[in-house]
């Protein structure tokens, strides 16, 4: 008799979801699904509001990556105004996004994921968290927390608040960077470089040893990758154009504009999840599966354009013997991106224009339909607004990074389930090895479910085992 295992809710990710594992008559895995069970409806209640409010409203979608929404909303606003923002404003927006990528990746690696690596997959779940890490390796935990603090403080120095800073506006930013803040950033950079280099050495050592087997199980499959790249093909996070590459490193589509996203991105809907399933339309659904985020950004770019980060990128490509296609390597990619961000921040701090006070362009409504894009920590983020002649929002479409990894997350869950669940008979419980790894499989993508459904929630663990007849056989909760 076939059964289904359901994990609900899932821990140490942002938002609320559950996992169902469907078993066949022999007790092996036939399918697995990652359900997102939140709903908020941001796109609806933005209607009728002035477009100038969109940064403030959409930033409230998330408390972890509000900067991503602030930037995408401001860039969409720039296009509605049809203005070119002052060069310093663009540099400052870039600085905030680099700080955001740093703090979010530090949160993902040190606070959320490293307890699995450092304490062991099968260690006590009650201690397999950041507090357990503080007990086991206080120096690393402190360094990780301070790295995140660095990113958060840069955001605060620019926008006066760490979270939901009302700082990016259509036409630029509201306040310039003070010389005092520039100096603070410069003073803290060396320590931040030390921390990420420490983490890189530690993690690379584990990829060669304790974590070697995970690379082949945690989302190792071919797919497309999508991300922004600069005009010169270099790593990009704020502007540039969109590029799709495949698992062999071939460029599938290049020089795509966010304005035309509807021509190459489709959004499928499944009845069992509030999270849509974006796909690359030329390949159809679900064959048009693509991944976004740190690994995708590193895969679509030719190079990073920063010395230390490029050395690590080459190391990653050597490790994978080509294009890294395992989602477990998102963790490595995240660390490389932190290094990239720190190098870019260093370069921006050395730019004499960075403290200029010309940071805002003014204009009225000049375009009624605009799409803004930015690279959020979890991947490419699109904001699409249609406004009336006066600038009141008529419709909104938000395509969120986590949503674009939805197909990949489902595929990863299935792959892990097939690896760890075999021949489950009636009355047998869910294997611990699976329980301890499946959440980590999802966590590779560092999903932000509040963003992706534009919804809020908590996420402990809930798994259900369901038979072939659809009946619930067993379930497990973990707060």
């Amino acid at each position: 008799m076939s059964r289904t295992v359901v994990i609900d809710p899932i821990t140490r990710i942002e938002g609320h979801a559950k996992i169902s594992v469907y078993l066949d008559d022999t007790g092996d895995v036939s399918d697995a699904r990652f359900h997102v069970v939140e709903y908020r409806g941001f796109e609806k209640f933005c209607e009728g509001r002035p477009f100038t409010e969109m940064a403030g409203i959409t930033a409230r979608i998330c408390g972890i990556c509000p900067v991503s929404h602030l930037l995408a909303a401001a860039k969409t606003g720039d296009k509605i105004l049809a203005v070119k923002i002052p060069p310093t404003a663009e540099k400052l927006r870039r600085l905030m996004n680099l700080a955001q990528l740093t703090q979010s990746h530090a949160l993902s690696f040190f606070h959320l994921s490293s307890p699995d690596f450092l304490l062991g997959w099968d260690s006590d779940p009650a201690k397999r968290n950041v507090f357990g890490l503080i007990d086991a390796n206080p120096d690393l935990a402190r360094a990780g927390i301070r790295l995140r603090q660095f990113g958060q403080t840069v955001i605060e120095k620019l926008g006066a608040r760490k979270i939901h800073a009302a700082w990016t506006v259509p036409g630029g930013v509201r306040t310039p960077l003070s010389e005092e803040s520039r100096q603070w950033i410069l003073d803290r950079l060396p320590e931040s470089f030390d921390t990420v280099n420490l983490a890189l050495d530690l993690f690379k050592g584990m990829l060669d040893g304790a974590l070697k087997s995970e690379i082949n199980v945690f989302g190792e499959f071919p797919s497309l990758f999508m991300g922004l790249v600069g005009a010169d093909g270099k790593w990009e996070h704020y502007d540039g154009h969109l590029r799709f590459t495949d698992s062999d490193g071939n460029i599938v589509a290049d020089n795509l504009s966010e304005d035309d996203y509807a021509n190459f991105l489709g959004e499928a809907v499944e009845p069992w999840s509030y999270l849509k399933f974006p796909y690359y339309t030329p390949l159809g659904y679900p064959d048009g599966i693509y991944r976004v985020g740190p690994l995708a950004r590193l895969n679509v770019c030719d190079s990073i354009g920063m010395d230390a980060a490029d050395r690590e990128l080459q190391n990653l490509r050597d490790l994978a013997q080509g294009v890294p296609t395992s989602s477990f390597l998102y963790h490595y990619a995240r660390l490389i991106e932190i290094l990239t961000c720190l190098e870019h921040i260093q370069a921006l701090m050395d730019d004499p224009e960075i403290t200029s006070s010309r940071v805002r362009s003014q204009a009225g409504v000049n375009s009624l339909n605009a799409v803004g894009v930015s690279e959020a920590p979890r991947g490419t983020l699109f904001h699409h607004y249609k406004v009336d002649d006066n600038g009141l929002i008529e419709s909104v479409n938000l395509i969120i990074a986590t949503g674009q990894n939805n197909l990949a997350m489902n595929k990863t869950v299935t792959q892990i389930a097939k690896e760890y669940i075999h021949g489950i008979g009636d009355g047998q419980d869910i294997p611990e090895g699976f329980l301890n790894r499946v959440e980590a499989g999802i966590r590779c993508y560092d999903p932000c479910l509040s963003c992706s459904t534009h919804a809020a929630g908590q996420m402990p663990l809930h798994i259900q085992l369901i038979g072939a007849d659809g009946n619930l056989l067993t379930e497990r909760y973990r707060d």
């Binding site: 100038t52 940064a55 403030g56 006066n390």
Partner: protein
Amino acid sequence: MSVVTLKIDGVDVAIAAGSSVMQAAQEASVEIPRLCYLEGLSTVGSCRLCVVEIAGINKLLPACTTEVREGMDVTTQSPKLQDYRRMVLELLFGEGNHVCAICVANGNCELQDMAIAVGMDHSRFPYRFPDRKADLSHTQFGIDHNRCILCTRCVRVCDEIEGAHVWDVSQRGEFCHITSGLDQPWGDVDACTACGKCVDACPTGAIFRKNDTTGEKVGDREKLEFLVKARENREWVR
């Protein structure tokens, strides 16, 4: 000019006959919460936030529209008044759609200030979430009816100081709203001189400059009082 004497919170005050209790309180440096009252404009007593207790009168009276009388004994602060004022504010918040986090007036809003002053940390009344619109048809300014508390400062400042009379109050009860011209989009009202006095007078983020984003609105309310006194005294020194 005859003068009357009265007590405000036990303090003796002498003020010109015909003055309001609100003016007498200001003379005595006593702050009375208010929203519809704005120095330099006529008084309407619509917000009921400035209600005070007067010895010998068994109902609460608004300080802004109550004239001083010889020997009056006025109390501006008491638990009963605090309760009433808090209730008034809870009803104002419940009646509209006030979302401070994204409001242009966040941090510079008299409704916020009053809520803090009376200790309103939550509302005991359910929010109505009315379906109200914003009008951005004016080239420089916008009005968001979600944030309007119907204090009518804009109506009065436009009529009494600017002399353009763009604004009026339309309909009644839950449908009551501020209207421009003959219920036209603001941008179509020829009478509007785009002086911006209504932006300065508005106590909330209901009327704002179009490029303002969260917390960027700064209303220069003292400018309006200055204009009135400058015209009266023929002195334009601020």
